[in-house]
Symmetry: C2
Subunit: 492 residues, 2 copies
């Protein structure tokens, strides 16, 4: 930045501050939503409801039940569940007397609290709700402070990998049905990471911090990760060199199959690795039976951040869109195509037990596995898709506008509207005593309302009204007594 | 309370405190949701989704669009909108750096902020979301600190009483469709209250405090209200005596019609009263055209608490249930029947303008009218109704359980489940390698799953499976190739 640019920027910041202070002094304030949050207008709501409808239908198809929990939890419930970084991002409620509470950070911890509190032995549930993180928002990239999560989880003591396979099947169904583009389900196992870290000679106490570096491998080259591990985190270079061969196994082999990689790892002399290889192999076999194996990729570098995972972990990424985004930047195809992770999850067998134990009761572990969809990203992609297809999205569901061809006739219009409403036909009428015909027809066209019922005094005297097809402008006279039937015929 | 009772109570409180402190010292805590909040289990969610589905369908039938706003707003947005009492009940977020924010208290103020911020000239929207009040919760009576509101509002400059009439029509449709019992829509006008207060000689500055006393008339006798006004609030006895004749007009006349009462008030020499009478008469006429006039009762004592109303105000009360509640208390029929207000609303023509003005812009008033449904009460009544009818409520939507008649056959079951899922048939299979047949059939019965697909080795060898009707226990052999078609036939 040049001196002049810097000067201009400083002046602007100063001006902005002065304006804010002046407004405050006058008891005024900016009309906006809080930082990192946004309103959903009706055209966004239509997309949102479409996406959520598809997901809900798939969850129900797999026998899941819905539950809901409060937006805020007791502070103790959330503490110590999200690692050092995550913990800092939790929103607290002000101390206004009473219990210390925090806004929920995800839906998994409230789910585990719910299972423990109600002493449930098993539960297959979905939960669609907003969560809160005091993160640095990047609104254009779909990173918000208030955002939706959409979770499917299975709690219960079951035979190995059966619920896990169903979670991957669901991920496959959701992404296939949304039809947003090519996707990949990346798969790894917490025990595999533990095993190869141990084999590399990495100290157990460094597990989390090494994980968080390794997890960056899908975004930055190995050299950057290596540098961070050796120079910043002071992991011995020897250990890091060992680790490289393991976590980059897929990259370093020439186009290996999942089984090729598993064959490499199964030779390792480490019990944790053996557990992981057996479970991953079984899971991949089940995925084949469920017809969702083609998109599953065993990726030894996948690490994931959260503390509570104990078994398989996975993440779904959209690799390429099924459409050409409007306003795509031809200079930078990466930017247009890559949205990264749209869902993630894994097995967490000890979280419910942590809650029963911290409540001072006998510890009861209920194994759990689940998947959480990053709905905001799916919304964004779906919105881009709709824009690229330039299909007019309806924000209302109105089927009929009751209009009058001449001045007045308000009461007659109201009577007709009543008949249609009482027959469950989606109907609007202008809130004007004397609306102009042109304005009414324009309203119907703008709102993409397919039919207009048109009233005229002469027709009314003969017990008739006109039905007008907004698209073709064709008009048909019908008896008022037959109006409901005639409209239902056209709407079915 | 006797001395002994008091002693026992004190001891209990002491014991409870000691227990809490001991748990805290051990790093333990009670497994619960915060005070005034609750989880929704799957059987409650089913009721909730049913009620919300009915309401959403009615809102859409009237051409409304959905919007959503953040759970928290800038503190300034909420300040000064809910009167002295309401303002104290707003939840604040902790100061963790950044803007001062509060949890939304209702959906009306965020709606007005949204209209002003987006400079909309009109909007007909519905919004279903949770709101937050630090009130004293009474969980058994459906008074929570976190609860749903379900709002329908019309913003825009329209001809008199047309949007208002549609709000009452919607209230009538919602309550009729839910079929919970006899209900009444009580109606009044802010200008009528202003007029009769002035005619009684009550000072303008006392308007709000007198309103809040008068509003209690549906719960306590006039003598109590009078006592509060004269002795506590120091309103001159003369003025209160005058006021009585007006606010008790319905009570004191012998079974008057709405028009009878309007005829009394229209003789009053007061401009505000005249405005109110004209608007109420027009509204009642429109309600007749919409076929919802029979439940509308003009009630001069209805006052409502919130500051922002400027025109008609109304409230919907359920007077008598359509069913006999289970565990009804025969000693106290009142308790079983009366749930009071389930919806309320009115006209607020200046709220949007307040926002455009406080944002330092030119004040633009957008007249608004709306209705807010107290969904928690409607949920409670609906739950009571379901319990009284003892109809088994399904919490899942599963149509088919894939079971095996003998040990093993896991992979075969998985293949069949995959076929059904891919054909969009709602299917579950037990997460067990060797489930017992009896347990599987019991699971289907408990979960009210209507069909079981039963696998046996011999049938499989011939390309066959059995379809079992869970209710009749009838079994039919079908070819695996025909299974989807056969099931779809049974499910349609």
């Amino acid at each position: 930045m040049s001196e002049v640019e810097k000067g201009v920027k400083d002046l602007k910041v100063k001006e902005q501050k002065a304006r804010a202070e002046k407004m405050k002094a006058e008891g005024k304030f900016a009309l906006k939503t809080p930082k990192g949050t946004k309103d959903f207008g009706s055209s966004q709501m239509v997309v949102r409801e479409k996406v959520l409808g598809i997901m809900t239908e798939i969850f129900k198809k797999h026998g899941a039940e819905a539950i809901d929990t409060p937006v805020f939890e007791l502070k103790e419930v959330l503490m110590g569940k999200y690692g050092e970084e995550g913990g800092k991002l939790v929103y607290d409620l002000a101390d206004q007397g009473g219990e210390a509470c925090s806004l929920r950070y995800d839906l998994t911890v409230p789910f585990a609290r719910y299972v423990a509190m109600n002493k449930l032995a098993n539960l297959k549930r979905y939960h669609i709700a907003k969560v809160y993180r005091r993160d640095n928002p990047v609104m254009t990239k779909g990173r918000f402070r208030e955002f939706y999560q959409c979770d499917f989880d299975i709690a219960g003591q079951y035979d190995s990998m059966l619920p896990d396979a169903e979670c991957l099947k669901i991920a496959d169904e959701v992404l296939s049905t949304l039809d947003l583009g090519e996707f990949e389900i990346r798969l790894n196992h917490r025990a595999l990471l533990e095993g190869i870290f141990a084999l590399s000679g990495i100290d157990t106490k460094d597990f989390k911090t090494v994980c968080s570096s390794v997890d960056k491998l899908d975004k930055v080259p190995w050299e950057t990760v290596r540098d961070e591990l050796v120079n910043e985190k002071k992991i011995p270079a020897d250990a890091v060199n060992h680790l490289e061969k393991y976590v980059r196994a897929r990259e370093l082999a020439s186009n290996p199959t999942n089984e090729d990689l598993l064959k490499i790892f199964e030779t390792f002399e480490n019990d944790r690795v053996k557990v992981a290889v057996n479970e991953l192999r079984l899971l991949l076999e089940y995925c084949e039976l469920y017809g969702c194996n083609k998109r599953v990729v065993f990726e030894p570098s996948l690490a994931r951040g959260l503390d509570y995972y104990t078994g398989v972990i996975y993440e779904v990424i959209v690799k390429e869109f099924s459409f050409v985004p409007k306003n795509a930047n031809p200079e930078n195809p990466e930017e247009n195509c890559s949205v990264g992770s749209v869902a993630a999850g894994g097995r967490y067998d000890t979280l419910v037990g942590m809650f029963s134990a911290s409540a001072g009761k006998k510890r009861t572990d209920i194994p759990c596995v689940g998947i959480s969809f990053g709905i905001e990203r799916l919304f964004s992609i779906m919105e881009m898709k709709h824009k690229s297809e330039e299909t007019g999205l309806r924000t209302n569901a109105t089927d009929v506008l009751v209009a009058s061809a001449q001045k007045g006739l308000l009461k007659e219009r109201m009577k007709i509207a009543r008949i249609l409403w009482d027959a469950n036909i989606r109907t609007e009428l202008p809130y004007k005593a004397n609306p102009k015909l042109l304005n009414q027809l324009q309203y119907a066209e703008e709102r993409i309302i397919p039919w207009v019922v048109l009233l005229g005094e002469q027709e009314l005297n003969n017990g008739l009204v006109k039905i007008r097809n907004v698209k073709t402008r064709e008009e048909t006279e019908v008896k008022i007594d037959d109006l409901v039937e005639e409209l239902k015929k056209r709407l079915s």
